[in-house]
Symmetry: D2
Subunit: 377 residues, 4 copies
């Protein structure tokens, strides 16, 4: 193993949930060293967080703009910037980071509008940087296994796919800071549950099936009185490969924690996976007993094995899956430095763009009473 990548965060102060997740994920395999940060939009909190994380005094920045400027000017600048701010800042920070020459890891949903998304995608292409979007659920080994099986034809022709994402933590009006910005359209973007978790579901579906959403009919609902964004969505899908789909997500289902589920149905069989029991992939074939494929267990392909760190029965979970995104991103950076080819397994800016287009189409469909809306090809 060579030198660790020099790494900065924008957002992710010590009391932010997702910032800590990124730090654990990046730390897990020892390929990143956090060296700089603009960890909060409030300078005092940015300073306090930087010190708490042990950053060098001179690399604790009061703003992301300052971070980009000062780091560019250093002889040993950071190489990767992770953006873990509320959504409304993603576009500006990501665009500036890309244009400043940094590789970027950005949280989802990528940006607020498809126009922003395509602008950013073009900037990435122009700059030639690497760009990851942390659709972390595609990092689970058994999700990788599902993709390998589906693309390998194990299920025959795909007929339908169902992806569900159930949460309950926004069932009440008041749920603290994490809830506040996620239900404020100025910060979260025009979608609520659909943007926050529906985009995860959409990306997972595309990752496993290899088929994008061609068109959709959506019904978005706001159950909690006074909420300015949707907290529940139900989307019928037609995929480019001809399969049909159903995507549902909700944040008002009391008792559901982080209940993301995927089921893919083909002419020859079915695969089923649940995020809360992530080491298992259930495999059904016509007229055969059900099989349980387990991470680390017998019968797995290369993709799952490469994404796994422990033997069977020693469970891996959320941070390890998230870490797989960071690990592969580091590998891509190092491969590029070495002039070697590397096929990313991490979600790229393309996934990010598709997610934003999906949200826009669903909002449009729902406004029109569930009419079918095509997505850009």
């Amino acid at each position: 193993m060579t030198r660790k990548l020099r790494w900065a965060m924008v957002g992710g102060g010590v009391d932010a949930f997702i910032g800590a997740v990124h730090r654990h994920a990046a730390a897990l395999d020892g390929r990143y060293e956090l060296m700089a940060g603009a960890l909060s939009s409030t300078p005092e909190r940015a300073q306090a967080s930087g010190r708490a994380l042990g950053l060098p005094e001179d690399r604790i920045y009061d703003s992301w703009a300052q971070l980009l400027e000062c780091e560019r000017a250093r002889p040993d600048p950071v190489e990767v910037v992770s953006i873990v701010t509320p959504n409304h800042l993603h576009f500006s920070v990501a665009l500036a980071s890309v244009q400043a020459g940094f590789h970027v890891v950005c949280d989802k949903p990528l940006v607020h509008t498809a126009t922003q998304a395509r602008t950013l995608e073009k900037a990435v292409r122009d700059a030639g940087n690497l760009f990851a979007v942390t659709y972390n659920y595609s990092g689970y080994p058994m999700v990788r296994q599902a993709r390998e099986m589906v693309l390998g034809g194990v299920l025959g022709d795909l007929r339908k796919v169902r992806v569900e994402y159930h949460q309950g933590w926004l069932a009440r009006e008041d749920h603290g800071k994490q809830a506040a910005w996620r239900t404020d359209p100025a910060l979260s973007g025009p979608a609520g549950a659909l943007g926050d978790i529906g985009t995860h579901a959409e990306q997972l579906l595309g990752f496993v099936t290899g088929q994008d959403v061609a068109s959709l009919s959506a019904e978005l609902t706001t159950f909690v009185p006074g909420r300015a964004v949707d907290d529940d969505a139900n989307v019928r899908l037609r995929l480019r490969g001809g399969a049909r789909g159903l995507l549902t997500c909700s944040q008002v289902e009391i008792g559901r924690e982080n209940d993301l589920r995927l089921a893919v149905f083909g002419t020859l069989g079915t695969l089923s996976w649940r995020q809360e029991e992530p080491d298992v992939l259930v495999f059904d074939r016509v007229d055969q007993p059900r099989q349980w494929l387990t991470r680390g267990g017998p019968g797995l392909g290369q993709a799952a094995q490469a994404a796994s760190r422990l033997p069977a029965g020693h469970p891996e979970a959320f941070i390890e899956a998230f870490g797989n995104i960071y690990r592969d991103f580091a590998a891509h950076i190092r491969a590029r430095e070495a002039g070697e080819a590397h096929t990313p397994t991490y979600p790229t800016i393309r996934d990010g763009v598709r997610g934003v287009e999906f949200v826009e189409a669903a909002l449009s469909s729902s406004r029109d009473g569930g009419t079918w809306v095509d997505l850009p090809g």
Copy 2:
């Protein structure tokens, strides 16, 4: 316990799945004695089946018309006729049975058209007979518990309900006799999966929530090439009480056996139930640990206890739930004889009518691309 009810079956020869279920269910509590039958539309098979079941020679009939006529003429006629033929015969046999003065147990879906359904409902009202439709899943004790809790306000105001019914046995084109008639519109009616299992889901939803479907938007799909009816359906619902709903059903999900699930979401909590683990009802409340309510276990109400035969941990299942329909129907007949009031817990002709109206509305909506269709009030 008084004398057993004298009972006849139309349909349900020895090789028919559902006929045997009715016999087990009716036998379980010793309140019915099978005394007559027109067990097949083929006289030879009707005779063979009747003998195999030990019916008296003179009460094995070659046709249902003969059965009704001869039984009426006897001094000791049967009191209850169960109709377990393919769907296309339900209307004629039920109407004639009602008009002949028999109490009727009829399988679902009730009939092919809403017009038939309402005609039959009127005949029942005019005749003053009792009429049960074997929506058997509402017979499960923990479904009864769910209804009692929901109607008692335990979940607060209902926000949404999701009912799913997944099967895989029709994923291939050729699946034998049981499949053949269910995919022939002349025999099964205009709907496939939606009629066969979607109506169960619709009735279950109404039973537990106490709210009927007010309007719907449906997408029906036929995945198996050459099939003349839908084998998959996805229906958005608005209920009369204001809740939203999602009903999905499919018979092409390989590996799913009889995976009927219900989840009811309110402002205060959630109830979740699965038919394949029927003795458990999962209860979630805001900011409380999840509870598992079990049949026979602590914390149950009167409805579940009345529908239960065994202590906790001694599982009850499909036949026992089905038997609860038959047991309560017998109790109603006896109560009426005794001049006593009886509130049925079994599904009545009203449930049957609603199911047919639901199917008609869904077919109409789907033909029109998923437009919203109102149901009769």
Copy 3:
């Protein structure tokens, strides 16, 4: 199907749990007609119960002795007597019933002492009657499947077997009538949990492995103060075929309902089954993904299919398994009448004797601090 068997019960008044179970089980397949009973040792309750069950007035008996005497004298005597009294009466009633020429179904544990058991076994042999002991758990289809697989060598050489039976309903001192007689040695016999549920576990183990217990080392415990019998047992086993075993049972594990589990381990694989999810048999083989075999599903052998009534996913449970014992007992009686051979799948007097010998050996071992005790060969 021919005429139903004329059937009597000793014990099993309307408020007794196990009597109702026998009635449901016998009713399920329509092969028995309850015609006589001595349903309680208290004449008033015997009469009330008999009337409630609709027995003919002249066949409601005040004592089992009267029942045997009067039925023998009738032209149409009952053919089968089921004994569902508290344990202390099993020996007298069973012996007299056998000697009076009736076929007998007797609850478990068979009798109080091995001497009684062997006396009764000899009487059965001398009389030539049929005798079933309702070790009902061996009636589950997936238990039959396990036996077929184990005896067919699918697991290779057996190494060990673990059978566990966990209940919690006797965790407190006061648990009502069902508890009272089960913890009174005069009524239940010298063992408590070991006799009540440990014998089920022992029989299940022998049924599935085809190997009897050769020797054992037991630790019995009485956790509840003042209780006169064990409420918890832990027994190391050596089986005749060379496998080792562990049998544990308890009635003081709060929250456990009727948690009977079996796992059989061989050189090639493992089978695992749980009574509370009885339609599933988990099958593990070396270096193969886990398989779920389900009742009614693909990959089952003849034994499971013969014991099943419904398609996959339509759960069967306790009463159906119990009914399989009754159904096969009826088939044996009818086969014998017809002069045909019949290999019983129901547990016979032999199983009953072994259970009593097991209890005696375990009591002896535990009294001696867990010393190894051989069982009769």
Copy 4:
């Protein structure tokens, strides 16, 4: 957060399972920096592993003795040494490390004999160093929750505890390098499964109940022909607080991955936990519905919350639990530097000593046919 602890490993070359686990666990929270290593007993592999891990050239050592000597001589020596060699080296390396003044993290089982264990314990006491034994399962948040509830009296008086540890990976004779040293008494110590996984079970039991094993009766078995150590154990326990216990472990149960389970039974309730679903703790109380406590969910105490990194439903697993051991060890070192009190939640040398005493007693009991053996007080 202050400076990271300077850290070395003895053992744990790049192809060793457990070394990588320690590195992931220590990396997770950013409190250790791996700076030196004697990663293999083969110098070439030690060098290759050190380079692969990015260690400075001058701190890649060919032997543990060299590591201790050279690090002591540096101005910036490592502060913590983790010992992840095969078991036979634990004693020498740990003793020398302690005597050289390093804090030590040592894998389990601690050493081969109770005499060694007590010698080492005395050395730790004399040196005043900190010493952790990586009984990692006690690091799971819901295990911490169970301990807090049990010690807080939620279960009433403890009656019994059952801990089971089932694996199947040693069911065959040949299982590669990981198996080889574990079944060679010269390397693994006198016990096989009992040492490798039974000690985990014993520590978990003591951790959760707060009661040590007072005496035991053991039956160890070697199922695989030619194996020199046990691969299966069954141990009856009496705990110092009066509770009874059962500990079973096996490595020949085909299909079992890492199936560690704990159930604690008291006069008021039961707690149940499974390592393969580690975020759930099942809580049963007399006459109350079962509760599911989940990591991050409602109703948890301080101990579980302190050991958790993610919200409910975002699963944590093996590495996170292991990381809790490392994190608390770092906290203890820093607290000591700061002159602050710190109550360790990580397992200490005392746990290690008890584990070795447990193994010795069990071996002795089993050799004598299961006789009861007292453990040192």
